[in-house]
Amino acid sequence: MDLPQRRTDIGPPHYKDFLPPVIQKNYGDWKHHEVLSGGVMVHVGNSGDKVWSVRVASPRLLSTDTIREMADIAQKYCGGYLRFTTRNNVEFLVSDEKNLGPLQDELKAKKYMIGGIGPRISNIVHTQGWIHCHSAATDASGLVKALMDDFADYFTTKTLPNKVRLAVACCTNMCGAVHCSDIAIVAIHRKVPKIDHDKVKNMCEVPSTIAACPTGAISPDPGKKSVKINDDKCMYCGNCFTVCPPLEIHDPEFDGVAIVAGGKVGSLRSDPKFSKLVVPFIKNNPPRWPEVIEAVDKILNAYAKDAIKHERVGEWIERIGWEKFFKVTGLPFTFQHIDDFVIARETFRTSPAFKW
């Protein structure tokens, strides 16, 4: 097979080669923007030039056929320019207003979901799951599909007090910013790894396996040239499994997901926040995880009903207090909600002023 000459360390193509002319011309000189509908916004330059962005949902996992279809649509209406967002939406960049209607008509005809802009639910940031990951305790794509089917109206048209950022991580390794989302699903294991001593001997480096444990539960087992795990200390994070695969952590009977809420990354109004545990465990129930949808529904509905305009989920919870959050959502509070890890004492209530 004849191959072209390879080149090394050239880095990515220059971004300027991929910017539409209207953006090249108004680069760094934008005046303002306006959200025109759930999936359309216009940016206006100091020059008076305009660029319209039409945003559509994407499952992130794309076949080359679909990417070619998107490329063709962009060719037809956008001079061949499009971009992807941090949350894996696709944005068609229109510089000629008369293409705006026909572009949306074609997208709708081809069953694209237009939306995700403004005080709505945008695409869910998520990880690889059973599709391609060794440590997944759930499938991210399936959960995302089930959640977004349920919340489709909040993507396309319906509004919320502010934007709601959802995320799904298929294990506690959390590829992506799951730990600072309005509502996130994080898959967890609940059983101590089962050690295959013969394989540990051949496949694993004992010191790095020990160092991988956040709770110091792993120690050497010199007799077996392996390691042992103190069951009482293990909190099933699975980090040891990534370093040493013969420490089998998967257990379909006991694996499942937790739900965390109230995080954000922006500094608007209040500092960035971590998401906090609201539901400690729900069993995996593919293909549609109805119990997860139901729990997220409870949080979203309570927020939509009760939050003040512009409040994010975390700001709403801080204002009403956690005791009221558990009351209005109807979610049970358990021992698992009380922290016993590294920052535990920072989370204990140190005031007698609270609600009933």
Binding site: P4, Q5, T8, I10, G11, P12, Y15, F18, I23, G28, W30, K31, H33, V51, R60, L61, L62, S63, T64, T66, R68, M70, G80, Y81, L82, R83, F84, T86, V90, M113, W130, I131, H132, C133, H134, V144, K145, A146, M148, D149, A152, M174, G176, A177, H179, C180, S208, A211, N239, T242, H250, P252, G263, V265, G266, S267, R269, N284, P286, H310
Partner: protein, 394 residues
């Protein structure tokens, strides 16, 4: 012909309004037997409620230690076409802009050598080519690199830097996020392609405190644009917002975290010296309010997911730095950070974990940054602290 599998559970996920990943896998499976076996194995995962992938093993292209991640089915006899199903990471262009032609070019190469499945994009921001075999890696690399594309980072290396849409299409960008991302990526090609760090290192560049790239939550070094001047108020536009139904008192003034604004029904006043530049008012009244004066960025460090010490958000190291090409001051700072990490970091210890372990003082002294109140939420509460001989001379 790719093998056909019965997929009753996954078929359920082709229903409903949101675009279906199952449909995507089926489209690829119509052409690729690898995608076919991916579908078959995934159905089994849905049935058994567990994944069937193994990782590890060193695979890659000549001269590179990163950019390819080895992935293997743990059921190679049942699903032979995905016995090897490696990931190739292609470095994405700044802010994920593409032309139709560039996407078609990528698709042509990938159909020829891989499963036809991609992620646009992976969590770090690479173009993820999902599923190929070891013998195809060199051809894939030759085809891409000869057309101006390169591999992204993986393993204990600099990972592919990424940024928000920035000045390309946003009026709030205080720094050129696209250019800085491109420039850093070019400058540190060796650090990206030949892993020599204790663990991974991520840069994420955001143009303002809205942080659309989630820099503060998932970058060892978060670069977030800010400014040091006043907010210019266009009172006519303020009046237009009021006229169009915005309650300026409750939506803007009352929500200001520093209470530096007031509104008497005619004029919006800002006490600029009390403003913390959180972006709430500007984001809600973009036609009326504009930052002015010196533009630059805050450098924060240390955010990461929970392993090992619990999740962290990046914390302030340098409250304000000018960021203009060729970015030498910032690059020198980065090299000092890496030197500290190289000297003291343990295997698989992120730089943020190291700073916590050794203390902020040691880190700040090493990189030559003075202590300032902007680096902390509050001063320490306990009376246990160290003194150094040089402190007595002050």
């Amino acid at each position: 012909m790719p093998k056909k599998y019965e997929t009753p559970l996954l078929d359920e996920l082709e229903k409903g309004p949101f675009p279906s990943f199952v449909t995507e896998i089926k489209k690829a499976a119509a052409k690729s037997s690898m995608a076919g076996d991916e579908l078959g194995q995934l159905e089994k995962s849905y049935r058994d409620r567990r994944g069937y992938w193994k990782h590890g093993g060193i695979v890659g292209v000549r001269g590179y230690g990163s950019g390819v991640i080895g992935r293997y089915s743990s059921l190679p006899e049942e699903f032979p076409e995905v016995a090897n199903f490696h990931t190739v990471r292609i470095n994405s262009p700044s802010a994920f802009f593409y032309t139709s032609d560039s996407l078609r070019q990528m698709c042509d190469i990938w159909d020829k050598y891989g499963s036809g499945l991609t992620n646009m994009h992976g969590s770090t921001g690479d173009i993820i080519l999902l599923g190929t075999t070891t013998d195809k890696l060199e051809p894939i690399f030759a085809e891409f690199s000869s057309r101006g594309w390169d591999l992204g980072g993986s393993g204990s290396a600099l990972r592919t830097p990424s940024c928000c849409v920035g000045p390309a299409r946003c009026e709030w960008a205080n720094i050129d996020t696209l250019d800085l991302t491109y420039n850093l990526t070019q400058e540190f090609q060796d650090e990206m392609h030949r892993p020599a760090f204790p663990y991974k290192f991520k840069f994420k560049v955001a143009g303002c405190a809205v942080d659309c790239i989630a820099s503060i939550a998932r970058a060892d070094c978060s670069i977030i644009g800010t400014w040091r001047g006043k907010i210019a108020v266009n009172q006519a536009e303020v009046a237009n917002y009021a006229k169009s139904g915005m309650n300026i008192q409750s939506e803007i003034v009352d929500m200001c975290p520093t209470k530096c604004m007031s509104y008497d029904g005619k004029e919006l006043k800002i006490k600029d010296e009390d403003c913390s530049r959180c972006m709430h008012c500007i984001a809600k009244m973009t036609k009326a309010l504009k930052p002015t004066g010196e533009k630059g960025a805050t450098i924060l460090m240390g955010s990461k997911a929970p392993f090992v010490i619990g999740a962290t958000l990046s914390w302030v190291i340098v409250p304000f730095i000018k960021l203009e090409p060729p970015y030498d001051e910032f690059k020198d700072l980065v090299r000092k950070m890496w030197e500290f990490w190289d000297e003291h970091g343990k295997n698989r210890e992120r730089i943020g974990e190291l700073i916590i372990r050794r203390g902020m003082r040691e880190f700040l002294e090493f990189i030559g940054v003075d202590p300032v109140p902007q680096q902390v939420k509050e001063p320490r509460r306990d009376p246990f602290f160290f003194w150094k001989e040089e402190d007595f001379q002050k």
